[in-house]
């Protein structure tokens, strides 16, 4: 193998699994260290810069970071159950304890004369507004509702996310001089185009819930509701009751929100019925857990067949039992078991079987290209549509995802808009900024806490179920108290503090090999990667994790480090007599809209 080029920012970025997995690339270990130090406001601002809604995301994020977390891998075969660091809930600790951060927020920029319209006031649009307003853009956000937040405000139940948090975090953005046109739903792209905005961002979400066209649907319509619409009505207080027996159809997070909301609005017998197997459900494992904790059974392998009604009233639903089988090509298929159909009695049904995008308000002759699925053509990197100054983001771009993806799209679109309106090529993306700093303070002292906590993941306390089930507005999760939060921060392995190897000064004394608790380091003859991976101190079988290979050493061998389960404890560097190993913090920040995202000349001008 060729020596690893650690100057390529992606190499060490990938080692920070959580940050690499986060669509907005939030520097997770950095803010966890700040929380450990009790610097909650600083931790909040690190988050705010990357993901814009730390308080919201600290309660509701899909947490792509946690399955990626190295802690989950290193705990394998080292105890009962390997678990990642509770990254998401630590984020909430920063938000809960930050105090007043208003003074830390950016100010609205001196007007630059450019106008940008954002359609929808959800997380994607608000991110665009947050990134562009401080640069002097006049951002106008249109939304059909009275308050900003979009999906965050409409579909996430209050027992998961109090409204005060939404008000606060949308407020920080609107306070940047963003013009919010509440109650103005855009119903014609052509009309908006005619208003001469310099750029338009479409962040209107995926507002249509899928329906199920089964026998009885029309007859029993009064007691059949589309999940996301029903959740919105609950959020706005239009609906405050539901029947005693409720069936929720679907296996995603919306289904989980529906069943738990129903449980709080009078549904004493709420069931979730899902086509797939329990493990294949789309809902996050913790959301399924939360629902089950509230006494809601989840019945899998039930395919809805019909709504049963009597005298124009819904009385039950009929389901077919299926099981999963693999066909000749190895694809999973659901085949009927042949058992008699199951009839489940009910008073109401909530359909949460997915969402789809709908753009009835975009005229097909507006100049925007649509693909074969009748979706606008959008570039995955620049978020640009076929109309150069029209951009998409969030669920509107590529179908339903989640808040953190919407934020990531918003950042990308803001960079594109900023470049476009400065006459630059939007396809040239800016590299991230990387700040490298040795952590060495003394012979055995580091400016990060390198001791590895042996503790298991800590549980977030819940409010008593008598109070939470009694009202839809009582938040279920209480968040970590500072003492527990500190303990949880210590489980973080500081993966951004990188082991950096300098081959020229290595004397091959083996001290690092002997001390490494995870057998990550080997000195060996070089070879092909596939062959090397088998012959290291411990086999490197996780192909998603890179090998760090040095240049040739004095004995003709090379140093090979498997990044997979490195604890970043720094013991290799402590035991190294020549400083060939050192611990360097690589703080990687994605470049956002502004002079630094533009070409070299613009950056020089700004400096």
């Amino acid at each position: 193998m060729r020596p690893t080029d650690i100057r390529v920012p992606d190499y060490f970025h990938k080692v920070v699994d959580c940050q690499w997995a986060c669509p907005a690339h939030t520097p997770v270990p950095e803010y966890i260290r700040l929380i450990a130090a009790g610097r909650y406001a600083d931790a909040y601002m690190v988050n705010w810069k990357s993901n814009v809604f730390p308080g919201v995301l600290g309660r509701t994020c899909d947490r792509p970071c946690e399955p990626a977390c190295r802690r989950g891998r290193v705990e394998e075969n080292n105890g009962d159950k390997p678990e990642p660091v509770a990254i998401c809930r630590l984020k909430r600790v920063a938000a809960d304890n930050k105090g007043d951060v208003a003074a830390r927020m950016p100010k609205r920029g001196a007007p630059n004369g450019r106008r940008v319209a954002c359609i929808g006031a959800g997380p994607a649009s608000l991110t665009v507004a947050r990134d562009l307003a401080p640069l002097g853009y006049h951002v106008v956000v249109f939304d059909g509702e009275a308050k900003a937040g979009g999906f965050i405000r409409q579909q996430i139940p209050r027992f998961r996310l109090p409204e005060s948090v939404i008000d606060e975090e949308t407020g920080y953005i609107l306070d940047l001089g963003v013009e919010f046109r509440a109650g103005e739903r855009i119903d014609s792209l052509k009309a908006l185009l005619a208003q001469g905005y310099d750029a338009i961002f479409v962040g209107c979400g995926a507002p249509r819930g899928r329906d199920l066209d089964l026998p009885g649907r029309a007859e029993a319509a009064a007691n059949i509701h589309i999940g996301i619409d029903w959740l919105a009505s609950v959020s706005f207080g239009h609906i405050d009751a539901i029947g005693r027996r409720v069936i929720v159809l679907g296996g995603g997070n919306t289904a989980m929100d529906c069943c738990r909301s129903a449980r709080r609005l009078g549904g004493t017998d709420v069931k979730v019925l899902v086509r797939s197997g329990f493990d294949e459900m789309k809902a996050s494992p913790w959301e399924k857990e939360d629902a089950q904790h509230e006494g809601i059974p989840i019945l899998d392998y039930h395919v809805p067949k019909a709504f049963v009604h009597e005298d124009g009233r819904l009385v039950a639903m009929r389901f077919e039992r299926v099981r999963a089988e693999r066909d000749a090509k190895g694809r999973r298929q659901l085949v009927p078991t042949g058992e008699p159909d199951v009839v489940v009695e009910c008073d109401d049904v909530l359909i949460a079987v997915g969402q789809e995008n709908a753009f009835p308000w975009i005229e097909r002759d507006a100049g925007l290209a649509f693909d074969e699925w009748n979706m606008p053509v959008v570039d995955k990197t620049t978020m640009q549509s076929s109309l150069p100054h029209v951009f998409f983001g969030g669920d509107a771009a590529f179908g339903p995802k989640n808040i953190i993806w919407a934020v990531a799209h918003g950042h990308d679109a803001a960079v594109s808009i900023d470049k476009l309106l400065n006459g630059e090529d939007v396809s040239e993306r800016p590299p991230p900024t990387v700040n490298v700093l040795s952590q060495k303070m003394g012979i055995h002292e580091w400016s990060y806490d390198n001791e590895v906590s042996p503790e298991d993941r800590h549980k977030v306390p819940w409010a008593a179920s008598e109070t939470t089930l009694a009202s839809i507005k009582v938040e279920v999760e209480l968040g970590f108290d500072p003492a527990t939060a500190w303990k949880e921060t210590q489980r973080c392995l500081n993966c951004d503090v990188q082991t950096v190897f300098t081959d020229k000064v290595c004397i091959e004394c083996d001290a690092c090999v002997d001390i490494c608790p995870m057998d990550c380091i080997s000195f060996t003859a070089n070879g092909e990667e596939s062959q090397l991976r088998q012959h290291l101190t411990a086999p490197a079988l996780n192909l998603t994790q890179d090998l760090y290979v040095s240049g040739e050493l004095k004995t003709g061998r090379v140093m090979v480090k498997d990044e997979d389960v490195c604890l970043h404890c720094g013991l290799c560097a402590e035991r190294c007599p020549t400083g060939a190993w050192d611990m360097h913090k690589y703080l990687i920040d994605l470049t956002q809209a502004g002079p630094s995202c533009r070409g070299k000349s613009a950056r020089k001008e700004a400096a």
């Binding site: 891998r73 002997d514 990550c520 013991l571 402590e574 007599p577």
Partner: protein, 351 residues
């Protein structure tokens, strides 16, 4: 040394031996030696050897004297018995312990100061008597704890870190051991675990006095140009006479070796030392020839390593003294102290 303890977490695929122990279970406390010390590599090699042989930790007694090397038993085999003796007196304490309980595996760990200077008288007699033990000298040619004076094994003409030339001639521990009748003699280098681990395993399986001279660079005081015990010097002058594999029982040889390339020595416990010759003229079963070749090569400035001598027919101190086959702790009070009448009988037989 380090301030944090080595984390208990281990690699998810870390294998277990037949006792269901991982290698990590044979570790001790975290080392307090200087970073890069060769002794730490020797500790790691001992850990590896004991794990591979699936030695029960409570069957091992590790004994040492005073010095950097003699501190190391704290850093391996944390579940085993240990004894830190007065400077240079490890061999007699080990001999006594061995006489009292012949069932344990005795691991004497010492340094060039402990064994070649203050304790040389003890060393020679333990070897001479054939005490059943593994005697490892972690040899760095320098007094590290007192900041870098030459030790008795420093080569004549080598220089100290400050440039002083050593005028005294060195004590050759391997030569001494061969001459005094050690029945398993090897030399190795802390920076070559592939060689060192099998040598330790062979020594553990050996009955009688097994001696290993392990060159172990002192990074703080003896790793400079002019030293003959530095990483660089030993790598440049390492003349390995053979490569050893220790196999539990004699088995088919899977690899084809040419005529005279392979020597197999079966030990008393049935284990086989399989030696791949790197030096065609070398036969480790011939003590006189071994002494000659080692001396010749050393005169040429080479550091001869490998299994230098082994006597498959070896016996130990217990055989020499015809002691009881059972350790003292399994004997009853009557057997240990048979009374005045028996004593009178013995005395009468000697009159």
């Amino acid at each position: 040394m380090t301030y944090v303890a080595k984390p208990k977490l281990h690699h998810p695929t870390l294998p277990q031996n037949s006792l269901c122990y991982t290698r990590r279970d044979y570790e001790g406390k975290i080392s307090t030696l200087c970073a890069g010390c060769g002794h730490d590599s020797i500790s790691a090699a001992i850990i590896q050897a004991c794990w591979e042989l699936a030695v029960e930790p409570h069957r091992i007694a590790k004994l040492s004297g005073i010095g950097c090397s003699s501190k190391t038993p704290d850093y391996f085999l944390g579940q085993s018995h240990g004894f830190n003796t007065v400077h240079g007196r490890m061999p007699s304490v080990l001999t006594g312990a061995n006489l009292a309980n012949r069932d344990l595996l005795y691991l004497g760990v010492s340094g060039d100061g402990d064994s070649a200077s203050i304790g040389i008288g003890q060393f020679v007699h333990a070897i001479r008597r054939g005490v059943n033990m593994v005697y490892i000298v972690e040899n760095n040619g320098v007094y590290g704890l007192t900041k870098g004076q030459f030790s008795a094994t420093a080569d004549q003409g080598s220089t100290s870190k400050r440039g002083v030339v050593n005028a005294d001639s060195p004590i050759d521990m391997v030569g001494l051991a061969l001459q005094l009748g050690a029945t398993y003699v090897g030399r190795s280098f802390s920076g070559d675990k592939q060689q060192l681990v099998p040598l330790i395993k062979g020594a553990i399986a050996h009955r009688g006095a097994a001696f290993l001279d392990v060159i172990s660079p002192c990074v703080a005081f003896n790793n400079h140009a002019g030293s003959t015990k530095s990483y660089e010097y030993v790598r440049a002058h390492n003349d390995a006479v053979n490569r050893l594999d220790v196999i539990p029982t004699r088995e088919e040889i899977a690899v084809d070796y040419g005529e005279g390339e392979l020597v197999e020595v079966e030990q008393h416990d049935g284990s086989v030392l399989r030696l791949r010759k790197l030096d065609a003229g070398y036969d480790p079963r011939d003590r006189i020839a071994a002494m000659n070749i080692v001396q010749q090569r050393q005169a040429q400035g080479e550091v001869v390593t490998g299994l230098l001598y082994v006597d498959a027919e070896s016996e130990d101190l217990h055989a020499h003294l015809s002691t009881d086959a059972r350790p003292f702790n399994t004997l009853g009070a009557r057997e240990l102290s048979p009374g005045a009448a028996v004593l009178d009988k013995i005395n009468a037989s000697l009159r």
